[in-house]
Amino acid sequence: MNLTLLGPVAAPVAGALLAAVLPRRVAAWTSLLAAVGVLAGGLALAARTGPGATLADGLLRADALTAWLVVAVGAVATVACWAGVHHLADLAHRGDLTAGAARRYLVLVQAFLACMTVAVMAANVGLFWVAVEATTIVTAFLVGHQRTRASVEAAWKYVVLCSIGVGIALLGTICVYAAAIAAGPTPAGGLEALNWSYLNRHAAQLDPGLMRLAAGLILLGFGAKAGLVPMHAWLPDAHSQAPAPVSALMSGVLLSVAFYGILRYKSIIDAALGPAYVRTLLLVAGLGSLALAALLLVGQRDYKRLLAYSSIEHMGLIALGTAIGGRLALAAVLLHILGHGLAKAVAFCGAGHLLHQVGSPLITAVRGALTRTPATAGLFGLAVVALLGLPPFALFASEITLARAGFAAGLGAVVTAAFLLVLVAFAAIARHAAGMLLGSAATPSVSPASPPDPASPVPAADPVPPRPPAAAPAPRLGLRWLPLALGLLTAAGLGIWLGPLQPLLDSAALVAAEGIR
């Protein structure tokens, strides 16, 4: 077995096994090591997969697009697992952590990472499907970890909606399989007919009528898991209820890993049907997601839900860029995936620290955080700035490139509409974030600003009574700012200079735009 191919999968599997036996503190640091292993594995893949070069062995396969996604998973996982070390320490400090809960958390997070790397490295659409569905299963208990009403509800909706959504994608996969075996005999058996490379090579022979059905099912199914409208309803609940480092992984890379399936399928479907069909579907999903996110961001009251809706917004932009197509737009999409992953991971981890210090998820409960906890709040604020798409962060570069590619492709009206919606979202997020960070710290009380209205769902339903800060003295800051700062620095660095990643991005965009040749 090829070690370069095996590395990114083996690192989190080893991490999960070690987390099951090692004591909590050591296991937490080991999980960070495993995440760094995934990142290193991704970079090793990048070095071995130039333009047109691929590695394949058994069920695993890697080209430049795979390497880019593994790098994204590894980078976000490094931030999230490092923050996870402090997250567990905080819980233990508060007395909220049993040894079993800590072990379960660490094992599940590593299993989650392993599922994501298997998904992006799968040679086979069937295995990709299995890995994506497995991510839902391993994260279900992470979402529902608190066992409160809200938490159980979020986990239930998450499992049911995502399983049904991904089930639709399985039906689409079966349609593709039926089209592939009808297109000609496969010398190496039925499994070969499901390989990404086989489907790409034989895309022109696939039956157009059947591929039309398959394309709709696949876009709807993996779109559900990627948080795109119309099957997004689970996302804000699940991402707001999960522990902050898990939210970081789910928002930062899981959505992109699901979308990776759509990216790969697009070149196959385009070759069978022409580019108009998928483009139209993706434009509808992208604009719909942007509109919904903008609408619900304006009146948002919970800051973790604010970040969750921002993820729907960014997935909408990614869908838009994929709809535009071509190397320029897809390079922007891939840069957006990495930049959004890092910024969102830092934002969620920062929000986790805020939640820990303030004890309430309400935006109105956090006032003047910059004066009270300057380091945490400052990093959270900078991450929000990055998410808003301001320079020097990577999302600025990717959004500008995306707009340019859209106008060049003759989709000026759509791109204008999309960026107007982005502007609405920008204003909403900026207003909420300014309220949280700026202002005087003297009045953290919620009651005068917003009287607890029994009819209003969010505050009344909050099952965890807001923990007064005095009851849980915040542990010393220590080095918990370090992973967040590193994530932000990387996101800013990528916006200015891609350096050695530039050739990887170019070849990955080529694979995404033109498929495997």
Binding site: L59, N124, G126, L127, W129, V130, E133, A134, T136, I137, A140, F141, G144, R147, T148, R149, A150, V152, E153, A154, A155, W156, K157, V159, V160, S163, I164, G167, L170, L171, I174, C175, Y177, A178, A179, I181, A182, G189, G190, L191, L194, D207, G209, L210, R212, L213, P236, D237, S240, Q241, L296, G299, Q300, R305, P457, V458, A461, P463
Partner: protein, 221 residues
């Protein structure tokens, strides 16, 4: 199927049973009745898998797939569902969102829709069994309908399982079954998903005191 009419008859009977059990799941309000209905449906699916395996180019692999499907849908899933059922004391669908008579009408409409949607699949696959593919899609659509209109946690799980049976039936009828390794992965995912839902149902009963999904309205904007 070389003119052996009894094979064809059993095949047709199994396809009919698939559809009948799906409609039966909509018809019965007592959630305890859903478990034997699903077991019978799993049995019908297994029969189809075994019949197809006998004519499959790689018969051993296809037989293993059929055995796995049978074990899963006739033994393991009903067992897990019985454990879910034990968690919830009173689990009758007292007031489904759509009443039973309308549900049955909707099922008829969904079957028609399935026949329309399955046309490209039937057209492409060359096997005579592919003509029964609309049955699989009908199961999927009826499963959606069940999951969307019922209030009980266990009903929603059954809806999910109907969808899965429908997808499996479509795979067998249109393509003679997906490759073994993919089928194994899909089955493993299904068992784990039902296990996760069982644990979540237990937590729901613990925190809400009931398995009624109407209580799930803490989170919205």
């Amino acid at each position: 199927m070389h003119g052996a009419t009894w094979v064809e008859q059993i095949f047709n009977l199994a396809c009919g049973l698939l559809l009948l059990t799906a409609v039966g799941a909509l018809w019965r309000r007592e959630t305890s009745a859903l478990i034997p209905i699903l077991a019978v449906q799993g049995g019908a699916l297994t029969v189809i898998a075994v019949l197809l395996a006998s004519g499959h180019p790689d018969a051993t692999e296809a037989m293993v797939v059929a055995a796995v499907v049978g074990l899963l849908k006739v033994v393991i899933i009903p067992l897990l569902l019985r454990r879910v059922r034990r968690l919830v004391r009173n689990a009758r669908e007292t007031r489904p969102l759509v009443n039973v008579a309308t549900s049955l009408l909707a099922a008829a409409g969904l079957c028609l829709l399935a026949y329309a949607a399955a046309r490209p699949l039937v057209a492409v696959a060359e096997t005579p069994t592919a003509r029964a593919t609309p049955v699989g899609l009908s199961l999927v659509l009826i499963g959606f309908f069940l999951a969307a209109t019922r209030h009980r946690a266990i009903s929603q799980i059954v809806g999910l399982l109907l969808i899965d049976n429908g997808i499996a039936a479509t795979a067998f009828l249109a393509t003679d079954g997906v490759p073994l390794i993919v089928e194994l992965g899909v089955c493993a995912d299904l068992v784990l998903a039902v296990l996760v839902l069982q644990v979540l149902t237990a937590r729901m009963v613990h925190t809400f005191g009931d398995g009624d999904l109407d209580d799930l309205r803490e989170l919205h904007d």
